[in-house]
């Protein structure tokens, strides 16, 4: 858990944190914290405990939708065997989307931080602005852009770059949608870390006869690592749990784990225990990945 506290900005390692003030009595701090902590306790922690309990419940035979408390681990067995391909798809698609989002975001963030000059604020607004249109409207727009009659498919077919003849209702469309949907979560942290970097340090790389690529690899990229780390997490986590892109852009068969959880909870009578086990497995898998990832790439100055 120390790595998580680390990401959240443990003040012990934060050089910007002010010196501790002994004058302030700590009960004021508890009063200030109390309502928010209570809210998170009742509407975040307690529901997770309930979800864990549901994931161990058993069904009443013959009464779909009714369960009794139990310690039934078979729900987890079902979650891991029946739905292993769904987990695999979720993580592969989310991983690809994170990679593409990084490749698109880095030049954009770099341009905003070092090249934009007085256009910087305008570019920043342009990054955020599309996200004021409802994300479902934008995802639906992608289904129109990538449709078989659309110009994207037309151009690609003309260039013989599209052997299948279709993008919509394929995993490619899903990855495209996921890449698009979480892009600002990648751009903004990278931009924030690059903006904080001193351009003179990068110039120094050039002065010491490093070429552009070497300077980037040894100076610029390491300086932006906290932003890259935050950005990849903020992209990968929602992408791995998403079901909307698959629903609106993806194929009928071969869904992601988010679709299964959503359907089992909201459409399948008696689906609660297995769906809860799936949710818990997804959350645990993501937290473990985050933990390992932060441990591998984490830096001291993480926000």
């Amino acid at each position: 858990m120390s790595a998580l506290a680390h990401v959240a900005g443990d003040p012990a390692v934060d050089p910007a944190a002010p010196a501790p003030e002994t004058r302030k009595r700590s009960w004021t701090a508890y009063l200030l914290l109390l309502p928010g902590v209570l809210w998170l306790g009742v509407f975040f922690l307690l529901p997770l405990v309930q979800l864990a309990a549901v994931s161990l419940q058993s069904r009443y035979p013959g009464f779909p939708g009714y369960y009794y408390s139990d310690v039934n681990f078979s729900n987890y067995a079902a979650a891991l065997t029946d739905y292993a391909p769904h987990f695999a798809r979720s993580f592969v698609y989310a991983g690809l989307a994170t990679l593409f989002a990084f490749l698109i975001s880095y030049p954009l963030a770099y341009a905003m931080a070092f090249k934009a000059g007085r256009w910087r604020n305008l570019m920043l607004i342009c990054v955020i602005a599309p996200f004021f249109t409802s994300f479902i409207l934008r995802t639906f727009a992608w289904s129109q852009i990538l449709a078989d009659e659309g110009w994207v498919v037309g151009v690609l077919s003309f260039l013989h770059l599209l052997p299948g003849g279709s993008i919509i209702n394929t995993p490619v469309a899903v990855v495209a949608g996921l890449t698009y949907n979480f892009l600002p979560f990648m751009v903004l942290p990278i931009y924030a870390s690059l903006e904080r970097a001193d351009p003179r340090v990068i110039e120094a790389g050039g002065d010491l006869y490093a070429n552009g690529i070497t300077t980037f690899r040894t100076v610029t990229l390491p300086m932006s690592m906290p932003g890259v780390l935050a950005g990849t997490l903020l992209t990968f986590i929602p992408a791995a749990g998403d079901f909307v892109n698959m629903e609106l852009l993806g194929p009928q068969r071969g869904k992601m784990v988010g679709n299964v959880i959503n359907d089992q909870f909201l459409a399948v009578p008696g689906g609660y225990p297995v769906a809860a086990a799936l949710s818990f497995t997804l959350m645990t898998a993501i937290l473990v990945m985050v933990f390992l990832y932060v441990r591998r790439f984490g830096t001291e100055e993480l926000v």
Partner: protein, 278 residues
């Protein structure tokens, strides 16, 4: 050396100079492409489903509420957004103040409590809330609907408010507050006359973030809303048959409003900054 090679070299030098900017502008165009589609299809004189372009009409802009349920869901979303933003911003600002300016036991635990909701997929939070609302809180009279949507939205907005306001407070020099106290200001006076005005831009930014998160949320809302419909839920349900162009009108109008608000805030901010410089 011939002129063509020097021209080629100049082109290459120009490209090398501007390749990052070109990539950035391409990325921005990519970001705006679906918005342009949303705008264009708000003028589509579609029949039963608004998927393929038919012909141009002003009709949908003249009567955006012309489709049953679309404006009702918009009003619900605005109400949910307003209440959630208000509560999450107040609670989150209080937490951020405590976390930066005070020493207390359990600081690491409170940091984790703020971080974990942001690292949890929405679908897990939605599922967890559904199980507790249906199997636990329903016994004390909580039914899925407007209230449960607001409870959930406050929860997931809270962490983002805390992180945003915390960053602002951390960038503040604590000596300014100490100076106020040295001049015999009470803690309350110090807060309202010194700290609060200085962190207000951070609070305003956090509130905008909270509102946009709440207004656009679909996954958690879908789990906890029961029969209540929000604007994203309306659009999602409609998407199976093709979203009515009236929804495009509303979606695009919200986009324009938000951009005007952000640009306005920027202009006010820079005007204030230049006044201080003078």
């Amino acid at each position: 050396m011939t002129t063509t090679t020097s021209a080629a070299r100049r082109t290459r030098a120009w490209l090398a100079q501007h390749v990052v900017m070109l990539a950035a502008i391409t990325a921005l165009l990519y970001l705006f492409l679906p918005v342009a589609y949303t705008f264009a299809f708000s003028f589509n004189d579609h029949g039963r489903s608004n998927i393929v372009w038919q012909s141009f009409t002003w009709e949908h802009w003249q009567d955006p509420c012309g489709v049953a349920g679309v404006c009702e869901s918009l009003v619900t979303s605005l109400q949910v957004g307003a209440i959630s933003t208000l509560v999450a911003t107040v609670l989150g600002t209080m937490m951020a103040l405590a976390m930066v300016r005070y020493r207390y036991r359990g600081k690491a635990a409170s940091n984790v409590l703020i971080f974990v909701p942001m690292a949890t997929p929405e679908i897990v939070m939605g599922a967890a809330l559904l199980t507790i609302f249906v199997q636990g809180f329903s016994n004390i009279g909580v039914n899925l609907g407007f209230g449960t949507i607001v409870f959930a939205h406050i929860m997931f907005c809270l962490s983002f408010v805390v992180v945003t306001v915390k960053a602002r407070i951390q960038s503040l020099d604590p000596r300014i507050e100490e100076a106020a106290q040295d001049l015999y200001a009470s803690p309350m006076q110090t807060f309202w006359k010194v700290t609060f005005p200085l962190i207000l831009p951070g609070i305003a930014g956090a509130a905008m973030l909270a509102f946009s998160l709440s207004f656009d949320d679909f996954i958690i809302t879908n789990f906890v809303s029961g029969n209540e419909s929000t604007f994203p839920k309306f659009v999602y349900v409609a998407s199976r048959r093709g979203i009515p162009a009236e929804a495009n009108v509303i979606g695009f109008s919200m986009f324009v409003l938000a951009v005007l608000l952000v640009v306005g805030a920027q202009l006010v901010g820079s005007a204030r900054a230049s006044r201080i410089k003078k």
